[in-house]
């Protein structure tokens, strides 16, 4: 039962496939099935947490590293399903299909973190991506100008291009080393058969994951897709796939290329460009999802900054950072999905006076935004602080200063939302009602965000040790 989570997800996807064949059931039934399979997945990931195995002729590794990511993915999935349970932007008739593809995409990500062979990685990634491409245009056509179609097409075109890069890089790796198994590639490279072409190959493969993580220069899809997809879909795109991206970035960065100074320089440049691009662009955004999209690019930069040390400690911190980031983002999107009346996009001024219209959501959003801005005692601060400390330890003083300055830039746009929530007059905007489960999920997120920020020692130690096992 080492692949229990994958099996649960697959069962869930098949169940939704069956549901989608018949007459469309009541939306509550669909919602309950989704929540059931989401929780079952999380429980399954916890059950199989200690498993160790290598399956399918060594292409699929169940180890501490993959299981940790699966637990994180499972946990986020449950919260995501609870937060977006109303699926306001999706038509009733396609909801079973929506969940079918959502679960398939998560399945792809779970497989991705376990994959240790190039073709398996590719297949898992495509399973996850293509399911995701389909989720975007499933939004109902509220504006009449089919922005969701445009977003879907952009997403798939950019995605296919990134995949092309990655495949090309993989073909190099295979051509140079004669194997597609990561561990054999490492052994081959460790013997000293190093060529500059290896770096080209690794960088191209990394490019594919930079696309998933949405960092400069593979970020172009972010704003339009965030805006064009429904709130719930964006919540998914903005959170769970990042785990897969970071997991695989770390796997590929452990490859000995013999050119680590070059890789480090490249990563540093990517990190700095992402931060400045993301934060400066976010400053002028009016649409909250676009803003969070750009903020995500900046946070991607911070994750990359954790990776630049190319050491276990930095990798552990990158995992800590992305886990924190996903939680903070989930908290924000939980509020966005529920403040939105019928699934429409929200402008910043739509949050005016939220503290009078729905105090609990206002509180959750505020915590989420302050955490994203990196104010203590939330996880965003601790993660940022640790990443900066590890980068400075590796003597990247200039980059650390630039990153710190970025924190100061970023606070402005996060605060502008908080300002709308607390100081602006609600005007004609109606009260917001949310179910107690959603509120409870939000409060749980807040508690986890605070706990992970105030008592990070165990998580960081754990992530650090687990990363050591794959080095």
């Amino acid at each position: 039962m080492v692949i229990l989570p994958e099996l649960v997800l697959l069962t869930g996807a098949l169940a939704f496939f069956m549901v989608s064949l018949g007459k469309t059931p009541d939306r509550n039934v669909v919602k309950s099935i989704a929540l059931f399979f989401g929780s079952a997945t999380f429980i399954a990931t916890c059950l199989s947490f200690q498993s160790q195995a290598t399956l399918f002729y060594g292409v699929y590794a169940i180890d501490a590293y993959s299981q940790m990511f699966k637990v994180l993915i499972g946990f986020s999935l449950v919260l995501l399903l609870i937060a977006g349970q109303n699926l306001k932007g999706i038509d009733d008739s396609v909801r079973p299909e929506y969940y079918l593809f959502l679960l398939l995409s998560v399945l792809g990500l779970m497989m991705l973190v376990s994959s240790v062979e190039l073709l398996t990685i590719f297949i898992s990634l495509e399973l996850s991506s293509f399911a995701l491409y389909l989720l975007v245009p499933m939004r109902d056509d509220r504006t009449g100008c089919r922005v969701q179609m445009e977003a879907g097409i952009k997403y798939i075109l950019f995605g296919v291009m990134a995949t092309g890069f990655m495949l090309y890089g993989m073909s190099y790796l295979f051509g140079l080393t004669g194997t597609t198994y990561l561990k054999d590639i490492i052994i081959f490279l460790a013997k000293g058969h190093l060529q500059p072409a290896i770096v080209v190959a690794v960088v191209m493969v990394l490019g594919g994951f930079f696309y998933k993580l949405a960092v400069f220069p593979m970020h172009f899809w972010v704003p339009d897709i965030y805006q064009g997809a429904s709130n719930e879909t964006t919540a998914f795109i903005a959170t769970i796939p990042k785990f897969g991206a970071v997991a695989l970035l770390i796997r590929f960065l452990t490859l000995p290329t013999g050119q680590s100074p070059f890789l480090i320089e490249l990563l540093v440049v990517i990190a700095v460009c992402s931060m400045f691009y993301g934060n400066l662009s976010a400053l002028v955004q009016k649409d909250i999802k676009r803003m969070l999209g750009f903020s995500g690019i900046a946070h991607g930069g911070f994750v990359i900054l954790g990776l630049v040390t190319l050491k276990g400690e930095g990798f552990g911190l990158a995992i800590y950072y992305i886990a924190g980031y996903v939680l903070m983002n989930l908290a924000c999107f939980l509020v966005i999905s529920n403040v939105s009346k019928a699934g429409e996009n929200l402008q910043v001024e739509d949050f005016n006076g939220l503290h009078q219209r729905q105090p609990v959501l206002a509180f959750i959003l505020t915590v989420g935004l302050f955490a994203l801005a990196g104010i203590p005692p939330f996880v965003g601060f601790m993660a940022k602080f640790m990443v900066l400390a590890s980068a400075l330890r590796a003597d990247h003083l200039l980059v650390v200063c630039l990153a710190a300055i970025n924190t100061a830039i970023a606070i402005y746009y996060y605060l502008s939302v908080v300002k709308a929530v607390y100081t602006s007059n609600p005007g004609e905007r109606p009260l917001v009602t949310v179910s107690p489960t959603i509120q409870a999920a939000g409060v749980l997120l807040v508690v986890v965000i605070i706990l992970m920020g105030a008592l990070p020692a165990r998580f960081i130690d754990f992530a650090g040790t687990v990363v050591q096992t794959i080095l």
Binding site: H355, F370, I375, P376, P377, F381, F385, M386, L388, A389, L392, R393, L397, V400, C401, A404, I405, T407, A408, I411, Y412, L415, S416, V418, K419, Y422, T423, S424, L455, P456, A457, I460, D461, G464
Partner: protein
């Protein structure tokens, strides 16, 4: 760790930090405005009472950090939970704990909407303020330092005046932008010294360039908080828009964090840079004193007037710190307390007028003397104290600072003197208008004098004004050992390192 006097048994400082936080968490679950007010008063009062045992248990003969507690927090990065007080911080802790009950009382009627949330903000504010003063681990310090922005931001943004959105964002941006490089400096110091324990970073052999860079990062963060002259523009905006309790906390405690930071971190961690850069900072202080005085003279808004007077007074404090002698430093520390007492009281007074007239305009508050005799009596004493009238607390502080400045450099001291005169000018101008006004006073006959609650709020401030003014010795005794230890170390350091002094003759 021989710098710490570890407290066995009851963890007093942790209790002081956690009690308001726990009280705040209770408020999250219990709604009800009357309960929230009462509960917050009880919690803050209890915190104040418990903090008295700090005074009784404090050993004035030791320069060590007392009541210290040390626990592991994030061992992988050598981050620990270490708290302790010494002569520099103890008075500030006491000031904070004693001020809070009066802030609650001052908000009793003033805050009418969302009372529970307001009290919650006050309580977590108190937690973070105490935390800043007692933290001996730099990460712990930074966590409290930054976290404080959130409740303070909300205090201004939710319960503030008409331009609250602008003022609160400005406050947040300024302070945060100042402290981001502080974070980098902290990490850099950690990498040099191997731990985040603040005393372990002091008096280390860092290169001069490193010291100057760290000093500048510190200085930017703390100078914005103080606020020193070119960085002061957030202060009037924030003061004017904040509710009374917010203004009092801002003036009495938050500004002190800047000077506390300069004293606690800049001097011992970067002594060479401090000596190298002291002169320009001294002149910036003079600029602040004069600029604050002249601007205060022109204000029509009472809160703005007091806000600009704060710029001037805090200029005296930084002046006292950077003359680097015992009179100056002790005067500066005392002046920090004095400013907390006097300016806090002045803001409370303005708040009381505002509750009655709903305006902070000086012109609308003229001629109150006839109808509010109790009120103007209090106001007169606090105004006299504000410009350092002999017999009141600020006199002692300013006198010590000026004496220290004369010892350091006569021209500098002469340049600071007009500041004291200006203070008298703007304070007496305000007092004259409020008490007597002119022929065109608005009709004030509807005003009622202070209630018992308001007298209870102001009386302790009056008590401290005269106590520090007439018998400051107990206060100076508390700080003396730590200050002289700091200066002794600085002078030993100076003798070994003559480089810095040569550069600024």
């Amino acid at each position: 760790m021989d710098l710490l006097l570890i407290k066995e048994g009851f963890p007093l400082l942790t209790f002081l930090i956690l009690l308001p936080l726990a009280g705040g968490l209770v408020l999250l679950f219990c709604q009800g405005e009357a309960f929230a007010r009462m509960w917050t008063l009880i919690i803050t009062g209890l915190t104040a009472l418990v903090s008295i045992s700090l005074l009784t248990g404090f050993n004035t003969g030791s320069a060590k950090y007392q009541f210290a507690e040390a626990y592991d927090w994030i061992p992988r990065f050598h981050i620990n939970y270490i708290v302790g007080v010494d002569g520099i911080s103890i008075l500030l802790v006491i000031l904070t704990t004693f001020l809070m009950p009066f802030c609650v009382l001052a908000s009793w009627k003033y805050i009418k909407t969302r009372v529970t949330a307001f009290m919650f903000c006050l309580l977590i504010m108190e937690t973070s303020m105490i935390g800043v003063f007692v933290a001996l681990d730099f990460v712990l310090f930074y966590v409290f330092w930054e976290f404080m922005l959130i409740p303070m931001y909300l205090l201004i943004a939710v319960w503030g005046g008409p331009r609250k959105a602008y003022a609160s964002i400005k406050f947040f941006l300024y302070t945060l932008a100042g402290s981001v490089l502080l974070l980098v400096a902290i990490i850099a110091l950690y990498l040099k010294s191997g731990s985040f324990f603040i005393p372990a970073m002091m008096w280390q052999e860092y290169s001069l360039t490193f010291q100057v860079l760290v000093f500048l990062a510190f200085f930017l963060a703390f100078a914005i908080k103080v606020p020193m002259f070119p960085f002061h523009t957030w202060l009037p905006a924030a003061h004017v828009e904040a509710p009374t309790a917010g203004s009092v906390i801002l003036a009495s405690v938050l500004l002190k964090m800047g000077t506390y930071g300069l004293l606690r971190f800049c001097l011992p961690i970067t002594p060479d840079a401090t000596m190298l850069l002291a002169t320009p900072i001294l002149w910036l202080s003079i600029a602040g004193i004069l600029y604050g005085g002249f601007t205060a003279l022109a204000q029509q808004d009472m809160k703005k007037l007091i806000a600009y007077s704060s710029v001037g007074h805090m200029g005296f404090v930084t002046l006292g710190i950077f003359v680097l002698n015992s009179r100056g430093l002790e005067g500066a520390l005392l002046q920090m307390i004095n400013h907390g007492v006097t300016t806090g009281a002045l803001f409370l007074c303005v708040g009381m007028i505002y509750e009655r007239t709903h305006s902070r305009e000086l012109a609308l508050a003229t001629g109150l003397g006839k109808y509010m005799p109790w009120f103007v009596t209090f106001l007169a004493v606090f105004s006299l104290s504000s410009f350092g009238f002999p017999g009141t607390n600020s006199f002692i502080g300013e006198f010590l600072i000026l004496a220290g400045t004369f010892e350091h450099n006569t021209i500098l001291a002469l340049a600071a003197i007009p500041g004291a005169v200006l203070a008298a000018a703007y304070m007496l101008r305000m007092l004259q208008k409020i008490v007597w006004g002119g022929t065109a006073n608005p009709d004030q006959s509807y005003l009622s004098d202070l209630t018992i609650r308001e007298i209870v709020v102001l009386a302790p401030f009056l008590f401290f004004v005269f106590w520090i003014g007439l018998g400051p010795q107990p206060f100076i005794d508390l700080m003396h050992t730590s200050v002289s230890q700091l200066l002794a170390q600085l002078h030993t350091w100076q003798q070994h390192h003559q480089i810095a002094v040569v550069l600024w003759p």
